[in-house]
Symmetry: C2
Subunit: 274 residues, 2 copies
DNA sequence: CAAATAGTGTCTCTAAGACAATATCAC
DNA sequence: GTGATATTGTCTTAGAGACACTATTTG
């Protein structure tokens, strides 16, 4: 017969947590990078494209489909550390930033069983990707991303890598508690519910770009104000007048005494983040 | 010998997810309510206090400590649905709102083993709590909450219910990726890492109060602008000039043709959320 | 009338958007 | 000089904060 009043250590020594049903837990990462395109004219600025990293699945389920990098949580790490480990291991890139964007736990979202995913938005600088070098035969590729509202509540997500084009349709809807979330209309060939995760992450990235929070991580430590402006314009898909951008951003940066050189026009002062 | 190329359904039929280690997953809820205090003078407005719901733990670990309501995720629900189920079952209150505020997965945060918690902030209207009636002998009680920055990066969290006072100390720190989070200095007697979860949830609530998002859920469907103003002042711990508040909030509300009556002063028009 | 809240008008200051004008480099 | 970007100045408009004033009710 058991004692009426077990001590805490006695209680814990008899406690078997594996008696209860448990889900598997993953972290999936939407890794963003801004790619500079080739410039036709030596003195013109390069155009920028926002892109995300996708990996081609080598095994079931969704074999040969494109999916977000990610993997299972291990017992000695936080979900954030898991995300960091997965993005560095699987994609061989080092994120400058890692931001949680949501938990996806709908029953049935993964055909393998009860698996809940923790989604992170990650920012990768173009510099670091160039150093690693892009293995063209690799199963990990950067897809240019575009995401625009079509009508009232439906949005079109387009991911492009060379000849490959994935087009997903998403519907915006309100949860019972007033928050808006995306529902997948057409997954566009993306694995699992990853179209939805990507839409959520991009929405969070855009929100963070409004207050300059997520801008700096795309650039090297020293940058021109015009480069910073292009980052905000690329992410938010807007155009800003240079004079106004400079005035607003001035409180977030400090100038250095260095300048760009070699462009076919007036050199620009380099700035650091404040 | 296995076939080289299994089909997806063959693959899934052989897949055993329970071979891999899995954590237990919980949802914990920080349920907020604004309590009107007694008014000394018949014609004076009542003072408001922000409060949260805590339950006294009846079993190990942290037996007899106060803790957040919450419980384990079941296979047929999302973490949000789990939070809703736990707050309605355990506390017998119906939340008007449910907002995710973070995932807590530090190894060792729960002495029972590998357990990760999904934290939600929930808003409860005073009306609904009054209808249920407060059982004084119950193990669930509303604690008045105060949370203020002491110095640079340390904040003091105080929870008060009649003679019981829990005082926790929290340090603000930056994660490796630039986001700020709280670290517990003194748990103040709260179970697990719940002091930290409460601080995170209150910070999220305050952020949501800035743009009037989380204000309306504290009030009945029809309310006076002054009542709405008091809600924002109570949550954010600030004072606002009535003229300015009314101007800003006017775009979020629509007036009805009803008025308050019986107070010792000019009646106020009732409004609805737009 | 006194006390208290409800509600309006307006002055000032600041921030944001638009736009014009000047500066400087590579070729 | 030409063509491109870099950088500054300023006009206008919208919004936020401060504050004075009027309105309405109950006892």
């Amino acid at each position: 017969m058991k004692k009426q009043q077990a001590t805490e250590s006695e209680y814990l020594s008899q406690y078997d947590i594996t008696k209860y049903p448990r889900p598997s837990v993953t972290a999936d990462i939407v890794a963003f990078m801004i790619r500079s395109e080739e410039n036709e004219n030596y003195k013109m600025d390069s155009a920028n494209k926002l892109s995300i990293l996708l990996v081609k699945r080598g095994s079931h389920p969704f074999r040969d489909c494109w999916a977000l990098p990610g993997g299972f949580l291990k017992p000695d790490e936080t979900v954030e550390e898991c995300a960091y480990r997965e993005i560095t291991d699987e994609a061989n890139v080092t994120p400058v930033s890692l931001m949680p964007v949501g938990v996806f736990s709908e029953p049935g979202r993964d055909p393998r069983g009860w698996i809940i995913s923790h989604a992170f938005a990650s920012i990768i600088s173009e510099e670091s990707v160039r150093q690693v070098g892009g293995d063209d035969a690799s199963d990990a590729q950067w897809f240019d991303i575009s995401f625009d509202r079509q009508s009232d509540a439906t949005s079109l997500l387009t991911l492009t890598y060379e000849q490959t084009e994935l087009k997903a349709t998403l519907y915006e809807e309100e949860t019972r508690f007033g928050r808006t979330q995306f529902r997948i209309g057409d997954s566009g060939g993306l694995a699992f519910d990853h179209a939805r995760i990507i839409a959520t992450a991009l929405t969070a990235l855009r929100e963070g770009a409004r207050n300059y929070d997520t801008l700096f991580d795309f650039l090297p430590e020293r940058f021109t104000l015009t480069a910073l402006q292009r980052v905000q314009e690329t992410i938010m898909n807007i155009q800003i007048l240079p004079a106004n951008f400079r005035r607003k951003v001035s409180e977030y940066v400090v100038e250095t005494d260095e300048y760009t050189q070699g462009a076919g026009h007036r050199p620009a002062k380099l700035y650091r983040r404040k």
